[in-house]
């Protein structure tokens, strides 16, 4: 492992230098089963570059104390770095105000926050929530829990055979009882990029707010919450080269202000007596207890790292990987790509004829190729395509065309073993 580290210099990246970027990721230098690691499970979790690791170490070795409380210097440093991370995330998604950026433990936590804070206050018996077939379980189950509790109804937007939302059907679902739309920006199972800007505009024309699950979008696309005009946008740090246990909920201030708190505890209050508690202002109202300070600061560093490379450069390289892999796999007999939307992020779900995805996964692992097999926490999608599970390769900006070749060779080996 390198002890001396030269971080990526944004000005040297006029052409995308993937080998230089890979050198920043210690884990990508490892080998498994005697083969170099080909890490293609980035939609599940991405790897962490040295500058982010270094930032975590620096925080723990010289900046750590609890935040928002004490008057000593160390606590002031920790508080100021935590809030600086919030501003980095604010800029990353172009949120109008920093108080609209709430640190959560991840996307699931962020969606649950909206369910408890907004849903339980404003959604009543007979009201309707629109979700889509593509949703991850994390944007289904909280709303089912709410529906069970309140008697609200869930309506589901169907998809076509390519894995694209049927927008006409979406628009037909609206009525005077529609209270919220929950939609993922990019499908984790299929890679489909949904036309959320158009969907948000339509929902707003009916006065309905929209929650976007952006977990799979922020690592691949430049996200601008003002341009999208979404009401809530949720994402996770660990899919963004940051640590686990940290995520973000962006919410429009006017909505966040009128929501009830999700978790009660320290920091989310202004004053507490046994007669009456006054809640803190946003975002603190939604950040009860000591937050994951180190993780938030690490996520701030991760965002700096990605922006230094440039989200446009990342998207362009990933598109090259996606197109190359799609072209190769389309030509393979007995391999079927599931999810062929026109507008896709760098995710390929596929099945190999006559071979169960778990056997594909085990045999690819033998070749050093790490990918995900299973239902991808999107069982309604699997049901729609009548498969119990798929194999899924998901590419990040640090993957290479050579790694796509390793995947293709691995799939050929699977087919050979099973002939």
């Amino acid at each position: 492992m390198n002890t001396v580290h030269t971080p990526v210099n944004p000005f040297s990246l006029s052409s995308f230098d993937v080998e230089r970027i890979r050198a920043d990721f210690p884990i990508l230098q490892l080998a498994f089963n005697g083969k170099p690691l080909v890490y293609l499970d980035n939609a599940a979790s991405s790897q962490m570059p040295q500058p982010v690791i270094d930032r975590l170490v620096r925080y723990q070795t010289s900046e750590h104390a609890n935040i928002n409380r004490a008057v000593y210097t160390l606590s002031e440093i920790a508080t100021s770095e935590y809030e600086a991370a919030r501003r980095k995330l604010q800029r990353f998604i172009n949120a109008p105000e920093e108080r609209e950026v709430i640190f959560t433990s991840g996307t699931t936590d962020a969606i649950n926050l909206v369910m408890h804070g907004y849903g339980r206050k404003f959604i009543k018996t007979g009201d309707e929530i629109i979700l889509t077939t593509l949703e991850h379980h994390s944007n289904i189950v909280p709303w089912q829990m709410l529906a069970e509790e309140t008697g609200a109804k869930i309506r589901v937007v169907p998809i076509n055979d390519a894995g694209e939302l049927l927008i006409d059907e979406y628009e037909n679902l609206f009525n005077e009882r529609t209270k919220l739309v929950g939609v993922m920006h990019v499908s984790n199972a299929l890679g489909t990029i949904n036309p959320i800007k158009q969907m948000i505009a339509f929902a707003h024309s009916h006065g309905v707010p929209v929650l976007v699950d952006g977990a799979q979008a922020v690592p691949h696309l430049q996200v601008d919450v003002q341009d999208l005009d979404c009401d809530f946008y949720a994402f996770s740090g660990h899919k963004l080269c940051g640590p686990t246990g940290i995520g973000v909920l962006y919410g429009k201030a006017a909505l966040l202000e009128k929501m009830q708190p999700f978790k009660g505890g320290g920091d989310m209050i202004l004053s507490v007596t046994f007669e009456k508690t006054t809640y803190n202002t946003i975002p603190h109202k939604f950040e009860a207890g000591t937050p994951p300070i180190a993780a938030a600061i690490g996520l701030g560093a991760a965002v700096d790292y990605l922006l230094a490379i440039g989200m446009d450069a990342i998207a362009a390289h990933e598109l090259e990987l996606l197109n190359y892999a799609t072209e190769q796999m389309t030509r393979m007999q007995g391999v079927r790509i599931i999810g062929t939307a026109k507008n896709k992020a760098s995710v390929i779900s596929f099945s190999v004829d006559g071979v169960h995805p778990h056997d594909v996964g085990t045999l690819l692992n033998q070749e050093g190729v790490a990918l995900r097999t299973g239902h991808h926490c999107a069982q309604p999608v699997m049901l729609r395509f009548k498969v119990p599970a798929t194999s899924r390769a998901s590419f990040a900006f640090y993957n290479t065309l050579t790694e796509v070749d390793a995947l293709i060779a691995g799939i050929r080996n699977v087919q050979k073993v099973f002939t």
Partner: protein, 149 residues
């Protein structure tokens, strides 16, 4: 490393391709369905006793090669055995696939030893033991079972 190779060897691939005793029994005395919630795989096992002897056994379901071959070879191994002997084999198979069976000491594993390598693949152990777990449930007249329980 050698274990992957050992796992996907001829005998397992053959049972996956041409599973023995695949199907259902018209009048099963014992029957159970087993689920692997990790992957959504499921198999059903049906059997008939003639006095104390397992006269007939069949399985079917949706599963990976490891699970299907395990089920197929299980039916071959169990057919004609007494319930007591079958239960000993279930225990030995579970012990082997979790690395707790000494294959050098006397046992009844026989050809099922091809599954020994699965103990080094923690994520795949459940695939191999699902049929056996389901067979035990059928013996105990538990209609549905899940590998996590």
């Amino acid at each position: 490393m050698a274990n992957y190779k050992a796992l996907y060897q001829e005998v397992i691939l053959d049972h996956n391709k041409k599973p023995r005793n695949y199907g259902t029994l018209a009048h099963a005395s014992h029957h159970a369905v087993g689920h692997n919630p990790l992957c959504g795989d499921h198999i059903s096992v049906a059997l008939n006793f003639d006095r104390d002897c397992i006269d007939d056994i069949a399985f079917q379901g949706e599963s990976c090669a490891i699970c299907k071959a395990s089920a197929s070879m299980m039916t071959v191994a169990i057919k004609g055995k007494s319930r007591a002997d079958a239960e000993i084999l279930i225990q030995e198979f579970l012990a082997m696939t979790t690395g707790k069976l000494d294959l050098e000491s006397p046992n009844h594993i026989g050809r099922l030893a091809v599954f020994a390598g699965v103990c080094d693949l923690p994520t795949r152990v459940k695939c191999a033991i699902l049929p056996w777990h389901t067979l035990q449930a059928a013996f105990n007249s538990v209609a549905t079972t899940s590998i996590r329980s």
